[in-house]
Symmetry: C2
Subunit: 202 residues, 2 copies
DNA sequence: ACAGTTACCAAACAAGTGTTCGGAGACTTA
DNA sequence: TAAGTCTCCGAACACTTGTTTGGTAACTGT
């Protein structure tokens, strides 16, 4: 943990420059899990967590803002893969079940990583438009609902609308009511999501 | 604006100690509207906005945390009154319209005050439980939906469930998709809310 | 062996932070 | 008039922050 003690840190070799970038993001992500929240997300804090010098970060990120932006993408990628993984664990024939699995996975992610989630939704105008990482996540749900319709499951609104409603509802629930207990409330969230889905399906 | 120039600030008189507290909160609220977001919410920044000395804040708030907590309550009170005002502008006979008005008002509040809204939802465990300012806002909607049921308007879920779903959905929409344009997108948000409500009503 | 490139870091800089302390001015009471 | 109280402020303390500069060690190609 300490920089003075510990092993003399295997320095990155020639041509491995990109490696530290990943380590920095991982360390920042780890840091965001701490109790400090996003306040602890400082250059020096990240450097401390990654066990490197603060100056080293500037070789991979021009700014603190660039670091935060990079971390946001990093977290959205994590969410994206978590949702796809959950979807792929459900049989292809069960289109509704696949959507359900994706929503549950996204809720689990939000509950397990409240700090990360706040960071993701904090992104300014340029990141939350029609394109961007959030849109990719939504598109995942749109595809899911579209498959439902293709399989003859009627929706009360369009697939895109349903995707936005479901995602927004599921995560609004998590963000607004992030109580003390984290895993204990997971059941109430999933049941909330299920009730939500029952409203969307005809 | 400046402390050096400007009028020599009418100092609070004897016995008017509580007045400055309100001025501080108002200044902090104003500050939160700026582009800095919640980062600009510093003791010194608030003092500058209120045109007082930083030290003066400590007579009304023990901590920076206490200031933030006080501001959170202040903003929730603003949201609460805005929703009630919107509701009371609709005829008592139109129960569904009154709910709709409250939701629209809350969305407008969230869109007009994204910074404030982030602060409100950032509150830790002790503030977002079964009681607290958020619960009071939700209860407002529960009452609204309950009146709908009393007036023979069927719901597809319980009044409490409907309130949480509607509030969470409306605000999730705002928080997740707070694009560049603020007022321009108000129409799309209200239509989203309306579609949302059509799902809740049987 | 030599220069060249890459990857990292120690140290410092200027700026801003929360907070405390000893007053100073305005008012009330006597 | 003099003491007492309330309300506010100037100045300082001890920190932390983002960022830059000038290196040094490891490795490459020649």
């Amino acid at each position: 943990m300490s920089k003075k003690a510990g092993a003399p840190r295997t320095r990155n070799r020639w041509g491995e420059g990109e490696r530290l970038r990943g380590e920095i993001l991982a360390a920042a992500s780890r840091l965001l899990s701490g109790l400090d929240g996003e306040d602890g997300l400082t250059i020096r804090g990240v450097a401390r967590a990654a066990d490197i010098a603060p100056a080293s970060i500037y070789q991979h990120f021009t700014d603190r803002a660039a670091l935060v932006a990079g971390l946001t993408d990093y977290e959205f990628a994590r969410l994206h893969t978590a949702m796809m993984a959950a979807r792929d664990r459900v049989d292809t024939g069960d289109a509704a079940g696949r959507v359900r699995a994706m929503l549950h996975a996204s809720c689990r992610f939000a509950m397990d990583n409240p700090g990360h989630y706040r960071l993701m939704t904090a992104g300014g105008p340029p990141r939350t438009g029609q394109t961007g990482p959030l849109a990719e996540v939504i598109d995942l749900l749109v595809d899911g609902f579209a498959h439902c319709e293709a399989d003859g499951i009627a929706l009360r609104v369009s697939a895109r609308r349903a995707a936005v409603i479901a995602f927004v509802g599921a995560h609004g629930r998590v963000v607004l009511f992030q109580n003390s207990a984290k895993h204990a409330d997971m059941d109430s969230v999933t049941s909330f999501v299920d009730e939500f889905l029952s409203l969307v399906f005809a």
